[in-house]
Symmetry: C2
Subunit: 336 residues, 2 copies
DNA sequence: ATGAAAGCGCTAACAT
DNA sequence: ATGTTAGCGCTTTCAT
């Protein structure tokens, strides 16, 4: 330790203040409410900040102000574009509003999710983003008890914890069935991942297709997540299960793409022998051969809407509706 | 306010302590060092915690202990599987070590990155993950000044800020050129995204291919990011630039997949008319028709290695090497 | 416009 | 094994 030197450690507002010849509070003001500081003083303070390379300690700031500036986001899978694509605009919108995001991956596991929520709550987040509307009772209770803004994304709910932003998976299933029916398909198969939302779309597709007079669709539920590989295996699986021709409703464009490739490998014509409807309108959907018929959900809008709703709630506003439906659209291209 | 009631607000350790009939510190101990608390006391405290639903305030804890339990991670793009796929194991490893992640997306912009680093530093992270080794001078200076553990991922560097974990992009380029040469290709094209690492792979491929005696490759640099769409357009672009046949080195498997599709649309045989080498060995690479020849980098290993290295540095260890090369492997399949 | 005083809820010594 | 005393670095009154 140097003679006469203060003890080591980070640069604090106190040090900056001493250099600028003001009190510590003035430095705080200069940073948070510059309009309340005389221009000359402000200039001296800013110069001292620059000279020292001072970086404010937001941990201390958060404790004192009781505002963490943190939003917690939980998504099932980071690598799954379905979720990362609405997370991106969400994070960006939050960043612009001055918030930072703590991210956690649940792996589609409600117990993990509940444990993570508890962990995240200890960071005093000002809001929470959850994926889907199915959460463990513990999780719901904790969140309700914490009384902070929560937005559930990617689904609509009759009884959201706080607010939900998404669309009706049941309606997409019905819409796909009607679309297939109108295009003349009377036989169908369904190829789906085992997650709750995909299964709801599948069930809705099947009942609507049958209600319209179609044959009961052949089903194949893949283990694991949506991928081209599983899509290829899925077509094989469907054919083993008795699917011979008709339209296949896939729970993801990735599955649909896999079906396209497997059909090509088997010299099956698409949509002549096998027709395909995907889900998601992912970036490649308009660029396969043939182009994919699919369901579009605007994930940019989803992320932004979720962020806006959360920010309003954080700001103390009540929302007119606790559920926001961003809708969806069946995009008819060439594969069905 | 109720008569006799304390003022409202969050449940604190103080309240839990009162209920359990102990002092506030004992509650802190019960949570952080349970072995230092008598079993009977511990039981009473835990019961009080359960009864109140107490969630510790880590913001206060972080301030007092000067350990935030936070790691900051900056990646170029959240939706790009190249980056999310090493982020996932990284986050998981960090979670198991008790850390939470604050995530920010730089959009491949060094200025944005520097600004975000400054913002993130105010959260007092115990470590930082950066993507790549190209950072603005400001950014380097801040990080060096902060003196905290930094791991740069996805590249190796001769002069890392702290530690780097990745592989040599130049070597992958050379390896692809040698591979192509050995398979008998004497004409080549390159299709690349405009990011720094992809360009280095491209340059290395070209110079090695020429050094071996091959013709100077036809080049096409895509605007925007790697995608099937851009891959299709890329093949068209290469042919406009004079590419007629040979092998195409792509900076991503997504480009390579796009080339496959475009070749199919143009009735070109792969690898007969056009051969393709991708990059990344993404999950679909072994399931296209034909299967993709590509370069594999184990992103799971990358994420875990980065986490381990960072944890060691946080623990105060010096590492034997400041740069860890996780290597790569050319995977010869059918497309080249 | 500026400063002094009082905490935010917790952990880290140092007692006992 | 448990409690007491001091802060951590900042924001928020409340004075001046």
């Amino acid at each position: 330790m140097q003679p006469g030197g203060k003890k080591a450690g980070p640069i604090t507002m106190e040090m900056v203040a001493r250099i600028a010849g003001v009190s510590q509070v003035s430095v705080s003001r200069a940073l948070n409410h510059p309009e309340k500081v005389a221009p000359a003083t402000l200039a001296r303070i800013n110069e001292a900040i620059r000279a020292t390379g001072f970086v404010p300690n937001l941990v201390a700031g958060a404790l004192a102000s009781r505002r963490s500036g943190i939003i917690a986001a939980l998504i099932p899978s980071i690598t799954n574009i379905t979720y990362s694509s609405f997370l991106r605009p969400f994070i960006e919108a939050m960043r612009q509003a001055g918030y930072q995001i703590i991210l956690a991956e649940t792996g589609f596991d409600e117990q993990e999710e509940a444990a993570m929520v508890q962990n995240l709550l200890s960071r005093q987040p000002e809001g929470i983003l959850l994926t889907g509307v199915n959460h463990s009772p513990d999780c719901r209770r904790m969140l309700l008890g914490a009384g902070l803004p929560v937005v559930e994304v990617w689904d609509t709910s009759e009884s959201p914890i706080d607010i939900s932003v998404g669309f009706s998976h049941v309606e997409t299933g019905r819409a796909m069935a009607r679309f297939a029916w109108q295009r003349g398909y009377r036989q169908a198969g369904v190829l789906t991942a085992p997650d709750q939302r995909a299964l709801r779309r599948k069930d809705a597709f099947c009942s609507e297709f049958i209600a319209l007079g179609g044959a009961a669709p052949v089903e194949h539920v893949c283990e694991g997540s949506a991928s081209i590989k599983n899509g290829r295996e899925g077509l094989a699986g469907l054919m083993r299960n008795g699917f011979t021709s008709g339209v296949i409703q896939c729970s993801s464009d990735l599955f649909a793409h896999g079906v396209l490739i497997e059909a090509q490998a088997r010299s099956l014509k698409v949509p002549g022998d096998v027709a395909v409807i995907g889900f998601g309108d992912m970036d490649f959907a308009a660029h396969t051969v043939p182009k994919l018929t699919t369901v579009r959900v605007d994930r940019d809008v989803l992320g932004h809407t979720a962020a806006d709703a959360l920010l309003k709630r954080i700001g103390g506003h009540r929302l007119t509706d606790s559920t926001i439906d961003v809708g969806f659209k069946v995009i008819g291209r060439q594969s069905a």
